[in-house]
């Protein structure tokens, strides 16, 4: 298979690319005109000399300077000679060379860099020589060697030989700051990029400068500065500036911005050298932010991923999950050939046997035909697909299977959510973007924990919060450390009462809610809704009312990378591609014409839960399942039963719980082995090329082949064909689906010894896409059960005591963490080690669960105890 790159015209009218905003011309009075190396330039007021030089293509060596961090002037490498007009108006030379990374350009200034000034050149040589005094000659073994700014600039702007004859200062070899991040102090040049990143951008104050003089080093203080508690990493780590074990989701960025090899990652340590790597741009597949990344591979093996540079989306930062979790794509349990399950003599299911594609397609088609004749087939594509693959699933269901029983939501969902998506989300791409969020005076998060569920969005929000331009409000049961770092205001809502709280945000209401209404009424305010609101009856209706009432703009921020693409591609039972309602005959005629079929099914289909239930009861004879983990579905036990009963065709990358129960398994390509387009929560298309040469087929080609075996021509055999069809299809300008109007349910009744469950996923948890990454797993937060002091007192528990949360299905026992939150609410991580809420409890946010202090002799869950 050759490597194909996406067509530059990937943006289709269905999901158009963002328009390129031209640079605004400089306003009169805002421009500063000065010269660098004799070249006159005009820049906006406040521009640093080093930035102005970059724009002219003049390279000034630097270590501490980073465009996204505040100027520090720590390394002194960027010294230049400066002449500026004095009080008398005559040009006068500044007595000493100036650091161009902290110097703002002023009118009439004349800057001479090392290219035109011997003085600047000599100063820079001197600084490099000083920096190299204590820098070890580690280059052959250092991971940074070959792409190291210190190495490069020592060659371009340093002395060829060293005059230093003394003994170098040494430190013991690397400190493990966390299981992932290693710190070699002797290589550090004290530029403070890492400490500035962690303070300014991520907000995890962790390491800082300590000691003085030659002994100055990056290290950890042990003072009780911040006093947050409870979010400790799973693996070993050093203490951060607060004296607690260091825990951050963004620490990988410090490895990338370190200008020497002082910070390295355990996962990439000694793995390769930059000159063997082939780099391909990519898009991270872990969340709906569509972060730009760079995939580096050698001989068909991906060795590392770096943050790409995309100023409008992720700037130059990615989460550690986007950076380090990529080995799942080449895990040992990858499926490489189609598999067909044999039948035993007594008709029971046998083993999966390797088969040819033709055999597998025929076996799948035979099973699907039988099911179509006796009830129907349901399609569960999962939420991680590219736009092209999602579109193929939708077309496959409607053309080849003749059904609308297709739903991309492999998570708790509701019909109200489907109406909300059809009404407000589908077909409205780039309605609210990152730039709108960062320009907003106020941002309300509803059922969305930004740091855990949308890491890059958290960083973009924090950037504005730190600059005091944005105020963050959050409707949630408790203020997490993430919200505290956003200086956020908590509008406390016990699970199930979110709709009530949202309806309470009216002008003139008491204290916080009235205040929030005022903030949201400001021009440009934004409401960001998470996918978890689907679990709250009336939640989406209340959000729409709130947006209507305050005039704030509204965006839906799902967790998975493929969710928004699935909505645009029509992977909802009531929605056709481009936001066309199934019930609209005009929309159906439109689609039928493009697809070249007589008609598309007119009745809205079943949702994920209904498909699973119908397959369980035998009303649906077969299921076509994509990348779905039954444990993510609202009722995993029911889903497993359904998969056992129905004829299952599974399109999977790796062996999974679905392939265990499938009758035909068709292997598909992971993102790194296929080109495609992810759609971000904004509705921004993020095309990415194929990184590795591979024989694996993308889902749309497999579905094309399967449809062929069923006697239908999907016409989606190549990426170009899919794009041509998406172009032809375009957007929808007809009537939208009606807004949902669901009454808020009554808050759940909580009896003695009971509590309402609040839960969300942590960024790093037991997800299948983080398999094979022990170093990353060590930086995940330890699972704790959070309860209020009142609840804890009622149960006779202290902070750190073991709390047992149970339903009829099972029990989860975790250390309790007492935090400020409503009474009779217990928070658990959804899928972390030791806390698989849906699997163990068969419950979700808003369910009533039993809580009790765990007996000391019982540890672990019931399942573990039984085992």
């Amino acid at each position: 298979m050759t490597i194909t790159s996406p067509d530059p015209k990937t943006a289709t009218p269905l999901v158009p690319a963002a328009p390129v905003v031209p640079e605004a011309p400089l306003e009169e009075g805002q421009a500063v005109t000065f010269t660098i190396d004799g070249i006159e330039t005009s820049v906006p007021k406040g521009t640093l000399v080093i930035r102005a030089a970059e724009r002219l293509g003049i390279q000034i060596p630097r270590f501490c300077d980073h465009p996204l961090l505040a100027p520090a002037g720590a390394c002194r490498q960027c010294l230049v000679e400066v002449w500026a007009p004095g009080r008398d108006g005559n040009l006068a030379k500044m007595p000493k060379p100036q650091a161009s990374c902290t110097l703002e350009a002023t009118p009439g200034m004349q800057v001479k860099t090392q290219h035109t000034s011997a003085e600047a050149d000599k100063a820079q040589h001197g600084v490099i020589e000083l920096l190299l005094i204590n820098h070890p000659l580690d280059c052959p073994v250092c991971d940074k060697g070959g792409e190291c700014p210190l190495q490069n600039q020592a060659m371009s702007n340093g002395r060829a030989t060293s005059r230093f004859v003394d003994v170098k200062r040494t430190f013991p070899k690397p400190i493990s700051v966390s299981t992932q991040i290693l710190l070699d102090r002797e290589r550090c040049v004290l530029c403070q990029r890492c400490t500035r990143f962690s303070e300014e951008i991520a907000g995890d104050a962790w390491i800082d400068l300590q000691k003085r003089g030659a002994q100055q080093q990056i290290g950890t203080f042990d003072t009780d500065v911040l006093g947050f508690a409870g979010e400790t990493p799973v693996g070993a780590s050093t203490l951060d500036t607060s004296g607690k074990p260091f825990s951050s989701y963004f620490s990988g960025n410090t490895v990338q911005i370190c200008p020497v090899g002082a910070l390295t990652s355990a996962a990439y340590r000694f793995r390769s050298r930059p000159f063997d790597l082939v780099s391909t741009p990519g898009i991270a597949e872990h969340d709906s932010n569509g972060s730009a990344i760079r995939v580096d591979h050698r001989r068909g093996v991906v060795l590392r991923r770096l943050a790409g540079d995309d100023p409008v989306v992720n700037q130059e930062w990615v989460t550690d999950k986007d950076r380090f979790a990529f080995r799942w794509q080449s895990a040992p349990d990858r499926i490489t050939t189609p598999l067909v399950r044999t039948r035993n003599a007594d008709g029971t299911r046998g083993e999966l046997q390797p088969a040819s594609w033709v055999e597998a397609f025929d076996a799948a088609a035979a099973g699907l035909r039988e099911a179509m004749a006796s009830g129907g087939v349901g399609v569960l594509p999962g939420g991680r697909l590219t736009l092209e693959d999602a579109y193929a699933y939708g077309k496959f269901a409607r053309v080849a299977l003749g059904t609308n029983d297709v739903d991309g939501r492999a998570r708790p969902h509701s019909d109200e959510e489907a109406s909300f998506l059809a009404h407000r989300v589908a077909g409205r791409t780039l309605d609210v973007t990152f730039s709108d969020v960062t320009a907003a005076p106020a941002v309300l998060l509803v059922a969305l924990e930004a740091e855990e569920e949308a890491g890059v969005l958290f960083l973009r929000l924090r950037e504005q919060v730190v600059a005091r331009r944005t105020r963050v409000l959050s409707v949630a049961p408790l203020a997490t450390r993430g919200l505290e770092r956003l200086s956020g205001t908590l509008l406390a809502a016990a699970p199930g009462t979110e709709a009530e709280v949202l309806d309470g945000i009216v002008e003139g209401a008491s204290d916080l809610l009235g205040d929030a209404a005022g903030a949201l009424a400001a021009d440009g305010a934004v409401i960001l809704v998470g996918e978890r609101l689907a679990g709250v009856p009336g939640g989406f209706s209340a959000v729409l009312r709130l947006a209507e009432r305050t005039g704030a703009r509204l965006a839906w921020v799902p967790r998975r990378a493929g969710e928004r693409g699935a909505v645009e591609a029509g992977l909802l039972p009531s929605l056709l591609p481009g936001g066309r309602p199934v019930t609209d005959s005009g929309a159906r005629v439109d689609i039928a014409a493009v697809w070249g079929v007589e008609h598309v099914p007119a009745e809205a289909g079943r949702s994920t839960s209904q498909i699973v239930a119908a397959a369980r009861d035998g009303r649906l004879g077969a299921l076509v399942v994509g990348g779905v983990d039954p444990a993510d579905l609202p009722d995993p036990a029911l889903a497993r039963d359904a998969l056992e009963r129905a004829f299952v065709v599974s399109l999977e990358v790796r062996a999974s719980e679905v392939t265990e129960r499938a009758d035909v398994v068709l292997p598909v390509a992971p993102p790194v082995e296929k080109p495609g387009t992810f759609v971000t929560w904004e509705g921004r298309p993020r095309p990415f090329p194929q990184a590795l040469t591979s024989h694996a087929l993308p889902d749309h080609r497999v579905l094309h082949g399967l449809a062929d075996a069923l006697g239908a021509d999907l016409g989606l055999g190549s990426l170009a064909a899919v794009h041509a069809e998406l172009d032809q299809l375009g957007g929808w300008d007809g009537a939208r689906a009606a807004a949902p109007a669901v009454e808020a349910g009554d808050p759940p009744a909580v009896g003695a010894g009971e509590a309402v469950l609040a839960t969300w996923h942590q960024l790093l948890d037991d997800g299948r896409l983080q398999d094979g990454e022990p170093y990353l797993a060590g930086t995940a937060k330890v699972a704790t059960a959070r309860i209020s002091a009142g609840t804890a007192a009622g149960l006779g528990l202290v902070d750190g005591g073991r709390l047992a949360v149970s339903t009829d299905a099972g029990t989860i026992t975790l250390p309790a963490q007492v935090v400020d939150m409503p009474d009779h609410v217990v928070w658990l991580p959804t899928a972390s080690a030791g806390s698989h809420v849906r699997d163990t409890l068969h419950a979700d946010g808003g369910s009533v669960v039993r809580v009790a202090a765990a007996r000391e002799d019982v540890t672990g869950t019931d399942e573990e105890a039984r085992a």
Partner: protein, 207 residues
């Protein structure tokens, strides 16, 4: 002209019946050297691979651990391959090597019937163990750093190293009373196969 040449000494070499030693600086097959205590000099830095104009060298580094210390310092070469179908014997790799791990021998008999047989792995390239050396992996000489090794301050294996090897690999042939250095220095499969081919060709050439 013809007549004058008849009286000059003959230049024909009776290879392979008589093997004339090459010049001492002849660029022959590579060798991966060891320090005096048996630890490998190669640190897996890949500079040889980077310097190679023919892309004949492939290296993968890995981290030394206390249980498996193969070279002084933190890093060693886990995979080391030289493809003699590509190598042009220019010697740039030798110049690039920061630890003098890679040098060239005078062995020029490198020909074979298969492509695979000319890709030399690390085991084929490693220098034979000499007197006083202990087969790696074993810990560094106590109290030394990789710089001490580089500066030649390590002159042989120590009692502590021998004790460590005796504890972890009691059957090691390089231990005192073991099978001896010969047994420990067995070359890899590719080098053995090449030796057989060369011996066969030499025998045939003598006839």
């Amino acid at each position: 002209m013809t007549l004058s040449n008849m009286f000059r000494p003959t230049v024909t070499e009776q290879y392979p019946s008589e093997k004339v030693p090459s010049k001492p600086r002849y660029h022959g097959r590579h060798q991966l050297n060891r320090y005096a205590d048996g630890l490998e000099k190669c640190i897996g830095c890949e500079l040889c691979a980077w310097a190679c104009p023919a892309d004949a060298i492939y290296v993968e580094g890995a981290e030394n651990t206390p249980e498996e210390q193969r070279s002084p310092g933190e890093r060693y070469g886990r995979v080391y391959q030289i493809n003699y179908l590509r190598c042009i014997f220019c010697g740039l790799c030798i110049e690039a090597c920061p630890t003098r791990a890679l040098t060239m021998t005078n062995d020029y008999e490198l020909a074979g019937p298969t492509r695979k047989g000319l890709i030399y792995e690390k085991q084929d390239l490693l220098a034979p163990l000499r007197e006083g050396m202990l087969a790696a992996p074993h810990p560094m000489v106590e109290g030394t750093t990789d710089t001490d090794y580089y500066q030649g301050k390590v002159t042989g294996s120590t009692e502590a190293q021998r004790a460590w090897v005796a504890e972890h690999r009691p059957d090691d042939p390089t231990l005192p009373g073991g099978a001896g250095l010969e047994a420990a220095s067995e070359p890899g499969e590719t080098a053995q196969e090449m030796a057989r081919i060369v011996a066969g060709a030499t025998k045939q050439g003598r006839r």
